[in-house]
Structure formats: structure tokens, C-alpha cells
Symmetry: C2
Subunit: 544 residues, 2 copies
């Protein structure tokens, strides 16, 4: 069996290596446009910041070492320009010489990846304009920073890569602004209220974040001097374009291979509509595990799972890839974030009867050094009681919270099941009631009627406008609000009738819940707890 | 409804507080022998080491603050001495005055906890003998250390508490020995080969660990001078008894309440054989979620889940507690450990057709600062392909690995499902192929015949005695073994016939697997890979 693999970073090398292990008799050849294969794309921002000191750490394997280890033939500097399905050949051009060659295949694996989107505006060719896709990009950006050429930088794009680059430039002492055209950073990844919270933390940590702002032009004489946006022109010595990526699939036009929004459409065996052709990695479309709908997941993690699956299927085993949950985590300035599954509006769009909860919980025993808080949002279906999505912010192990959610959501976990898991606990790691179980308990209280609450998003949207705020914190914290000592409540409140609309607010939500509990007992019917309390929602500024 | 709760630490306070929230009209009273309630028992070793500086951090709530917050009445210094089920009363004695009282109940909750086991040997009453159960124990041990009274300490008992105390005494500069009667530390928690590995790391970190050694006598004139064991007498200024705990259930004798090994037997609603009596926490027996058999789980985490469940059931909701997995994590000198589900022999005893795997995998991107390794052991059932148990060692986030396993095992996850999870990945947190997915992949290779291997335990038991060791590491590492450059293997090995019994060993197992893959292709039928390689199994000393 002669197998050609177009592309040699994560998905291509994984598929090729695994296939050789499954069937050493297969003749497997990787054709790749670049000079390097198998580099650590996700590590590039950290090289910029010097967190990864040495650039050799970015290269996982050279073409030679990979080839020796796996038995896969690798041709670098070879760009595939067309595919002839009828004759089972591809035409390729040597990048340096322009020389054309034709390669035959029995099976073809499309793993040609994606390229950074460069917008059609003026100035993108100036010195000081960067993208972040290959080791070369990271090396040249860090080089310019270390030569003192970059004091101010504008990062265009508030997605994971943009924010990671921003953090790492800031680590190097660069004054960084991040702009994004969307209403929030991480659009589609974090629910809006969590994205706003994250923006505030980043501002507190010295990153200037401007959303709803479009890039119009990069201005300069030879090199970047200003970045002109839809709002104003910003002084800058560098402009990093992190506006997303586009699949490298232009050469597949008119081949009849089924495409979807520029990506190659595959079934759960990573097979295209041509049974001799597979596609994996950033150029391929996978599906959402929950909705079954196409979802693009240009991530190293997906590339590896899909690559393994493609190799197994090529070798004659039937392996199904169940799809992604859209999981992501990132370390950002001052805060780590994570998300998986469906966001609140995605869940509604998918037809679920949605209930959500937001909690602020300890991330380890409160008395253990380094203890901090998680902000956890769970999204669930009221009727099936299954968890659909989870998002988390915090200084600590957001990846743990996400991986629990990933495992649970993948297996159809209900809120009730989450509540009673025998999670690991010792003070250096967690709390006696696990942060996720704690959150599940609050959601259970809400679903079962023991807790009546507004989410921070409902509050921000004005749901509490006709409510009187009662401050249930141990000491008064909300300017202008009546403070109530919940421990003294032993009957109806003198100044409020039992049908009064009362919004109960404390620091995180727990005392407000205890107050609501008492007030209900004394006949109150219209109280609401503000989830996440003043920890999440500020009552000092920006109050609506 | 009049509810009496006997005991006021984790399970008692949780049950009482939650019940009041569910039904504020219930009259709930806690009777507790001690002066404090609701203290952080799991934090005590960390107070000893000064990791937790201030003793006030150990107290979660005073009886007064708890009572004000929850509406639960609390009587401290009151020891229950008998239960009269017929008349629904308990008899109690005030500890200070000896005065007797009788309390009536509609429902009774037994949450009287457990006490440290003190062996019936000489010298346990000497100054310098400690247990570790209440804040007072920790405060007096740290006090003695800080007064310079303790230079050498012997900890008797290699369970979680004993090892945590050992780590914290060592932090304070005390020379520490840990002895245990069992063959290994953490007997029943870690499988033997992992326990041995942990012992070696602790030795490297300055803790003297002696197993198979029994305490015979504590010797001294007024205060501890020597600890006499079945092997030898050890000089010591202090002896910490961490030999386990015994349920405080003596007062229940002859009540007809069904007991099991000293604990109170309950159903999944936390109810005893008397429908008016519940039991929760360290004095109660819960069940193993996988085997359905009784399992004692005297842990703060279990206390909280069971307490919540008991309260919900008392308030008329039917909540089932599905039981525990025996999850545990701990930070020990030089290494963190975790376990959940069935150990290898437990799984065999439960009738499973068991397959296990041990891997050594990166805990985050290898190039990210602080990256280290996990040693992960998975225990699965060959026919159902379900994961039954997991154990982990490492410097990093062992709690994450465990919590994934807990969630998966609780929901019946197969190895195949674990392999394809969309886990969270970014370089500061994890690897592109998640450590758990990586381990699942190796186990899949083993289950599906792509990998033939010996586990470290099989190797230690002599399974490879008739095998020739081939060293597959990049450079020769095993004294006396033939080194093979796997990249040069393009046909049968000149010196070994194709039916030769060959044990392939590299640093972690990956290159040995690649070598096996090639050798199989060239007709070799008797090769075995050593799982975990030389990272886990030492070929320099103690070789069998």
C-alpha cells in the first residue's frame, strides 16, 4: 500500500508514524511545503516570552530523525498543487527550484494544515508585522523584542493565540494592546459575562484590551509606526496579526472532494467522500460530539486523536472518532481560563431547555498557601439533567475542572451524578467538597427549587431592575444597599412586605442563599440570589 | 421534627446545616463530646509543618458562629453514652461535670466519628507520644518541635496521615523515620510496585522508611527516648502514632443497630436498620461503587457527600449515595500520589479479567518550565474494556489524573472512550496527547495485540527470567545488556533467532515498543517490552 501524506506538522506526522507501526509494509511518504516538520506550534507564544528559553525545544523531530525512527519517507520543500483522483496522483512543486513532480498513491491523507489570515488592508507588509504560526515567526518576534525594537505592540485578535502572545510580550516588558472586532475577547469560546470579567483582569494586569474595534490600516514608513483602527490610531512598533487561520485547501478546488467552509469534510473514520482519501488536522472539519454538527477544531490535541484514528482506519481497523467538545484552556495575564461543551447560547440554539449556574468556590483548602478561587459556570439541560457545557476562570488548576467536565459530558453525566463523585481531596489539591461537586450542588438547589437566583448575565441584562438590593455579606459592602445580618433574621423583615422583590447579594452567593432560605421560611415569595455575588459582579462601577 | 445529631465535625455539621436549610422548622441539635466543632482535620499535618501558619485557620466555625449561621443548636462537652431506640432517647454525660441528661428524638443521626488507634504496648503514655486527630494534637506537636524538643521522630504507620506528618516534620528539620507493619507503605491504597517506588523517592528525600516492622514498645524515662521495633530500637524524641483510626461506636453496643467491623451499616439513603436512625461520616460504613461491597471511607470528602444525602433524605427527598471509589491523593516528600477504583489484586478478587498498563508520560509540554513526568497505572477489564482503577505518581497534578479517572470510572468509561476524549490542552497545563489518553492508547495497543509487554510487577516477580535484555534507549544505559539502535534495524538481528525471548527496555517504554514493532515485522515472536522502562525499574541495584 502506497500512502501519501500532504503535510507534516501534528496531524500528518501522527498519521504517518502510527500507520507505519500498524503496517510496516506500507510505503508512507510525507510531502511538506516547509523545511521543518513536527514542531511545537502551541509553544510559540511561550518562546516569545522567554518562558521557553531555547528554540531547539520547539522542534520535536527533524525530518531525518523522524524518518529514521518511523520508517516514513519525508520530502520537505515540496508543495502539492493539485490532486488527480482519477489517476490517483498528486502534482507537486519543489519550492526552491520550481521543479514539478507527480506522486502516485493508493491512499491519500490530506493534512495540509492552515495559515494565518492576513487581512486585505494596507501595511501588512511593513517590517514589524508578525503572525504566529511557525518557529520562524516566534524567533523573529522575540529577536526584535530583545534587540529593543519593540516597546509598544498591538495584537490584532483576542483569541487564544492573540492573548497568549499578549501575555508573553508583556512578560518581556512590552506595552501591549489587544484589539478585536467582536464584542468581547474569545468570542464563541467564553460566554459574554465571563469574557468581560477576563478583560477586566487583563486590564488590571496591564494589558490594554479594546473590543468592538476593527483594524483598518497599519501605518509606517518601512516599519510599523501606528495601527489605525475603527476607533483611533494607536502608536506601535509592532503589530501581531492573530486574526485566526484559514485551511490550506486551495489546491483541492475542483477535485470533487467535499468541502465545508474551506475545510475538508470527513466522516467519523476521517474519510472524505472519496474512499481513497482521508483528511486530518487543521484542514479538516470534525464534528461536535454533542450536536453532531460540523465543528472546526484546529488544535494540536484534535490533530493527534484524528491522526491516530485515520492511521488505524487506513490499516484496516474500524475506529470511530466521536468528535470534539470545543475544549480550550489558556493561561492569560492574571487569570487562567477554560471552556468545554456548549456555551449558554449554543445550548439554547441546539434546542435544549437550558439552566445555568455560576459559582465562586475555593480551588483548594482555603488555609493552604496559594489557595484561590474558581469561577465556574455550568450549563445543563433541565429535562435530562445532563451537563452540556462548563467554563471556568481562576488562578489555579482550570485544566482539572475542564477535564472533569470533558469526561463527564462525553459520557452523559447528570448534575446529580457530578454531585456525588468520589473526587480526590487533600488540602494541597482541592477542597473537602470538590469545587465541581460544590457547583453541582448549587445547580441542584436551583433546579430543584431550593435556590431562586439570577445569573450574572441575567442581572447585567436588567432582570433585577425592579428589585431592592439587600446586602447579605458579613459587613456592608454595597454602596447604597441595606445591609442585613442574616444571623439575626428570625421573622419577617420589618421594612419589606413578604411579596417584596428583593435581590440578595453577598460576596460569593452562599450567605445570600442562607438569607433567602430564612426569608422563604418567613413567607417571602419574590427573593432572588445574585449568583457569584460581588466577587463576580461589581457594584461600584459600570452599574447599570 | 426533632433531630439529634451525635457528633459535630464534618459529617455531623454538614447533615445538621443542610437539614435546617431544607426544613427550617426541624429542631436540630448537635451533641458533641469535644469543645470544638467543624475543624479542618485534613489540615493538621500542614499546621505541624508550618505550611499553615496560624492555628485559627484550622477552625472552620465555632459552635456559636455555626449555630447563628445555621439555626442548629449545639451542645459541646456532651458525650452520648447510650441509645434507647424504643423510647427514642439518648443518654448523655457532660464531660466536665459528669452530669447525666436524656435527649429525645424523632430522628437520630450518628456522626460520632472515629478515634486514633493506640496500640496496647508499653510507653504510649510517655511525653513525646502523639496522635494526629484534633487541632490540639497538631498544636502540641508543633509546639514541641519549635521549642527544640524534637530532633528525631518515629512515625508509626505509613498511611496517608503518617506520611503527611512525616513530610511536615521533615520540613521543620526533624529527622524522620516511618515504620509500618505491612510489606509496603500505603498498603491497600497503592499497588505494591508503586508503593516501593514511592518509598525509594521518600528515602531520596531524607525520610527513613522501614516496612515489615512492628512497634513493640516505646521506651523512656518520663519522655520518649527510643522506639523499640521488631527489628531494632530507634533513637527518638517523639513517636507519632498514625496506626489508623477506630470508629467511635462503643455506645451503640446492644442497641440492635446493625454494625459491620465496628462501623454502623447504612443503606444508600444513609439509613440504618432502624428507619429513625441515620449514620454518616467516619463511624459509618458506605459501599464501594464498583463492587457494591461495604467499604470504609473515613474521609472528609465522603463525610460531606453522605451528610448532604442524609439531610436530603431526612427532609423527605429520596437521594441515593452511590458509594465510593476509595479515592485518595497525597503530597509526600518528593512525590505526589493518587489512587482510585480497584487496585490490581482487588480487581482480580472481584472476578474481573484484568489487564493493566503502566506508563511514564510527560505531565505538561516537555518544553514548558516545571514539566515533569506522571507514572500512571490503569487497571481495566479485558472483556468489557471498562476502566476499573487508576493510580498515579508524579511531581505535578496527580489530582487531575485522578479526577478524570473518578469521573470516568463512575460513569463506566471504556479504554476506547478515554483514548478519544477532547481533553484540555495548552503547554502550561498538559500535552497535546493528554497523559491519560496517552496511557489509554498504550493500553489499547496492549489489549489489541499491538504491544506485548511485561508490567513492572510481572518483571519484579521474575516473568522475564529466561529473557535476554536488549537496551533500546538512544544510548546504552543498562549495564551488561546489548544495546540496539532501533533506527538501524532493517531485518532480523544477526545474533538472535526469531524465536529468541527478548526483553526490550528503554527509558520509558516508547522506543522499546518501536523496536518490538520492527522485530515483529521481521518475524520475531517472543519479544516483550518492559512497561515504564528504566525510569520505573532500576537495573543498577536490587536487581533480582
Amino acid at each position: 500500500m502506497k500512502v501519501l501524506v500532504i503535510g507534516g506538522v501534528a496531524a500528518g506526522t501522527k498519521t504517518a508514524a502510527k500507520l507505519k507501526r500498524e503496517d510496516r509494509s506500507a510505503e508512507v511518504t510525507i510531502l511538506t511545503k516547509g523545511k521543518e516538520i513536527s514542531y511545537a506550534g502551541c509553544g510559540l507564544p511561550y518562546y516569545v516570552g522567554g518562558v521557553i528559553e531555547d528554540k531547539s525545544a520547539l522542534i520535536v523531530n527533524t525530518p531525518e530523525s523522524f524518518s529514521r525512527l518511523t520508517g516514513v519517507a519525508v520530502q520537505t520543500g515540496v508543495e502539492v498543487v493539485s490532486v488527480d483522483r482519477e489517476n490517483k496522483t498528486v502534482k507537486a512543486v519543489r519550492v526552491e527550484s520550481g521543479e514539478e513532480s507527480v506522486f502516485g498513491y493508493d491512499k491519500l491523507v490530506i493534512a495540509s494544515g492552515a495559515s494565518p489570515f492576513v487581512p486585505p488592508c494596507k501595511g501588512t507588509d511593513l517590517e514589524g508585522v508578525y503572525v504566529m504560526r511557525t518557529p520562524k515567526d516566534a524567533i523573529s518576534l522575540r529577536g526584535a523584542v530583545e534587540e529593543g525594537k519593540i516597546r509598544r505592540a498591538v495584537v490584532v485578535g483576542g483569541g487564544f493565540i492573540g492573548l497568549e502572545v499578549a501575555e508573553n510580550l508583556a512578560l518581556k516588558g512590552v506595552k501591549v494592546s489587544v484589539i478585536d472586532f467582536a464584542r468581547t475577547i474569545l468570542p464563541g469560546f467564553l460566554d459574554e459575562e465571563l469574557a468581560f470579567y477576563t478583560e477586566n483582569v487583563m486590564l488590571d494586569n496591564g494589558i490594554n484590551v479594546a473590543t468592538g474595534v476593527a483594524l483598518e490600516e497599519i501605518i509606517g514608513d518601512g516599519r510599523v509606526e501606528k495601527v489605525k483602527t475603527s476607533k483611533r490610531a494607536m502608536k506601535a512598533d509592532a503589530c501581531i496579526l492573530a486574526m485566526g487561520i484559514r485551511p490550506n485547501t486551495g489546491y483541492l478546488e475542483n477535485t470533487g472532494i467535499e468541502m465545508f467552509k474551506g475545510t475538508v469534510l470527513v466522516d467519523e473514520h476521517m474519510r472524505t467522500n472519496d474512499p481513497a482519501i482521508y483528511a486530518v488536522g487543521d484542514c479538516a472539519m470534525v464534528k461536535n460530539r454533542l450536536t453532531g454538527k460540523p465543528q472546526w477544531s484546529p488544535m494540536g490535541s484534535t490533530a493527534n486523536i484524528a491522526g491516530r484514528g485515520a492511521a488505524m482506519n487506513l490499516a484496516g481497523h474500524e475506529i470511530s472518532y466521536p468528535g470534539v467538545l470545543g475544549t480550550g484552556v489558556a493561561k492569560l495575564p492574571g487569570i487562567c481560563i477554560g471552556r468545554t461543551g456548549l456555551g449558554e447560547s449554543q445550548a439554547k440554539d441546539a434546542g435544549h431547555d437550558v439552566v445555568t449556574v455560576l459559582t465562586v468556590v475555593d480551588d483548594k483548602a482555603h488555609y493552604y498557601p496559594g489557595a484561590s478561587s474558581f469561577i465556574i459556570k455550568l450549563i445543563a439541560d433541565k429535562s435530562t439533567r445532563k451537563i452540556l457545557g462548563a467554563q471556568v476562570l481562576g488562578k489555579g488548576a482550570v485544566d482539572k475542572v475542564m477535564d472533569i467536565a470533558v469526561t463527564g459530558i462525553s459520557l452523559g453525566m447528570t448534575v446529580d451524578q457530578l454531585s456525588a463523585m468520589d473526587f480526590s481531596y487533600a488540602p494541597p489539591f482541592s477542597t473537602a467538597i470538590h469545587p465541581m461537586a460544590q457547583t453541582a450542588n448549587v445547580l441542584l438547589n436551583k433546579m430543584d427549587g431550593a435556590l431562586d437566583s439570577f445569573t450574572p448575565a441575567e442581572y447585567a441584562a436588567g432582570a433585577a431592575e425592579s428589585y431592592t438590593i439587600l446586602d447579605a455579606a458579613p459587613a456592608s459592602t454595597i454602596p447604597g444597599a441595606r445591609h442585613i445580618d442574616l444571623t439575626a433574621v428570625e421573622g419577617p423583615l420589618p421594612d419589606y412586605p413578604q411579596d417584596a422583590k428583593l435581590l440578595l447579594v453577598c460576596t460569593k452567593g452562599k450567605r445570600a442563599y442562607l438569607l433567602q432560605n430564612r426569608l422563604k421560611f418567613y413567607g417571602y415569595t419574590n427573593t432572588k440570589v445574585l449568583e457569584g455575588g460581588t466577587f463576580f459582579t461589581s457594584f461600584e462601577e459600570d452599574e447599570e
